[in-house]
């Protein structure tokens, strides 16, 4: 199964560190995380399903962009990173 690394900021809502997923796409992965950790719902994505502005998803180090990026496939040997951009003052 693919490995998913979640940044420390997500611990407020449930998971942290590394976990594994049988999901076959980025969209399916986000659905799975929201089901496993209900407090994550609406924190990674808004109510329309779009990934929030400062949430970044990388598959094997490559950024997933926009609505079409949710269809990005995930294989059993892939690594997914979910990170947050930091900005502002």
């Amino acid at each position: 199964m693919a490995a998913v690394r979640l940044d420390a900021m997500l611990r407020e809502f449930g998971p942290g560190g590394t976990l594994t997923t049988p999901a076959s796409s980025v969209g399916a992965l986000l659905e799975e995380l929201e089901t496993r950790y209900p407090r994550l719902q609406y924190r990674l994505r808004d109510e329309t399903g779009a990934v929030r502005k400062f949430v970044r998803v990388f598959v094997n180090g490559k950024a997933v962009e926009g609505a079409s990026g949710l269809a990005t496939p995930i294989g059993p040997t892939d690594r997914v990173d979910i990170l947050h951009s930091i900005q502002g003052g």
Partner: protein, 374 residues
């Protein structure tokens, strides 16, 4: 009037929420917090029907909006459902060009419902929409008749976004409600939210070619007279107005002031016929005269009076639309938070003022829980 006791001032700031607790005389204050540290707390709303219950609206560019609730006067908090939470987990599928509808950007104002519905609350958000919960925030339903109002295409965002920021419920007729939306104007429902009509007759607009359209006004705040709910006091982008007929029409009363631009108005329960405003210079969004000043409108004499004598607090202060509050006591307390983090308090309806000795982050909202009543 309420017996005086502990007064709690809930201060929402750009970097968290604070509770400022006052003694019986409202002269000594103790600051605790922040909760939700580092996050933008637009509004903290104590529920006078349930002493100790407080809601906070926490906005975050990283996590999106959250509604949190405390039942111990703000010591501890628990997240409740955000308004976009549906009972169904289904989401609209993102289209090829992205999401089809606008998601909620910020939560603006939470108002406890009428005394007859103690588990009901109303929530105003950006983009301008009203939500209702009947289970203390565990689930929400959009108020569709307003959110899909026939005039919606004429609503436009102000500098703070297209926000629904004011919610008023007539205490003598709980099915009558008012909301304020920037920039759409004031709307009224007489049937508990099933139907809404725009209530902006007489309120001018300077920023559109048509000066008196039915909607599009940039209302900043509205307060209801405590003894005569058909009298409403209104601070617009384009001036200060009073309605004496339940918002059927509005009369411009701010003309005698040097400037009647501003963001805030309160009407203390102990002072029927009085409304307090803080006019700002339109260009700078700061109080004119380089110091704290508050103006009182007297509905009986129909005259203005400046309350702050001399210049005890020199400086250039601005404020956001939730930044002014009052309490149920006699004499009335006034609580004014500034966008640069000062909290000014008057325990006697504006005659004397003190500054709480704490430098807050920029203040978004000030609310008061004290004794009984709103």
């Amino acid at each position: 009037m309420s017996e005086q006791g502990t007064v709690r001032v809930y201060v929402g700031t750009r970097k968290g929420g604070y509770v400022v607790t006052g003694d019986k005389g409202r002269k000594k204050w103790r600051v605790s917090g922040p909760s939700h540290e580092g996050r933008d707390v637009y509004h903290m709303s104590p529920d006078p029907r349930r002493p100790g219950t407080v809601f906070a609206l926490v906005n975050s560019p990283w996590w999106g909006p959250m509604v949190v609730r405390s039942t111990d006067h703000g010591k501890t908090w628990r997240e409740v459902a955000p308004p976009m939470m549906k009972k169904s987990k289904e989401r609209p599928a993102p289209g090829p060009d992205g999401p089809a509808k606008n998601p909620i950007v910020n939560l603006w104002h939470l108002e406890p419902g009428p005394d007859s519905d103690p588990s009901t609350y109303f929530l105003g958000v950006d983009p301008a929409s009203l939500y209702r919960t009947d289970d203390r925030g565990e689930s929400w339903a959009p108020v569709t008749a307003l959110n899909e109002h026939e005039t919606r295409s004429a609503w436009n965002p102000g500098a703070g976004g297209l926000c629904l920021h004011t919610i008023l419920i007539d205490p003598t007729n709980p099915r009558r409600m008012y909301v304020g939306i920037s920039a759409a104007g004031t709307f009224r429902s007489d049937d508990g939210g099933d139907h809404w009509q725009a209530m902006n007759r007489g309120v001018k607009i300077s920023f559109l070619p048509e000066k008196n359209p039915p909607v599009g006004q940039c209302v900043h705040d509205v307060a209801m007279d405590p003894a005569t709910p058909s009298t409403l006091y209104r601070q617009d982008h384009d001036g200060i107005y009073v309605s004496r007929d339940s918002a059927e029409s509005w009369k411009h009363v701010g003309g005698p002031l040097h400037s009647d631009f501003g963001f805030v108005v309160v009407a203390p329960p102990a002072m029927p016929g009085s409304a307090f405003f803080v006019p700002l210079e339109g260009a700078t969004r700061t109080i004119g005269g380089h110091g704290l000043q508050v103006q009182r409108w007297d509905e009986r004499t129909r005259r203005w009076s400046a309350l702050v004598k001399g210049s005890p607090f020199p400086g250039d202060f601005g404020m956001h639309r939730e930044g002014f509050a009052t309490d149920p006591f006699d004499p009335a307390g006034l609580y004014l938070g500034t966008s640069t983090g000062q909290l000014f308090i008057s325990p006697d309806a504006g005659r004397r003022w003190l500054q709480v000795p704490y430098q807050f982050p920029g203040i978004q909202s000030v609310s008061v829980a004290a004794g009984a009543g709103r």
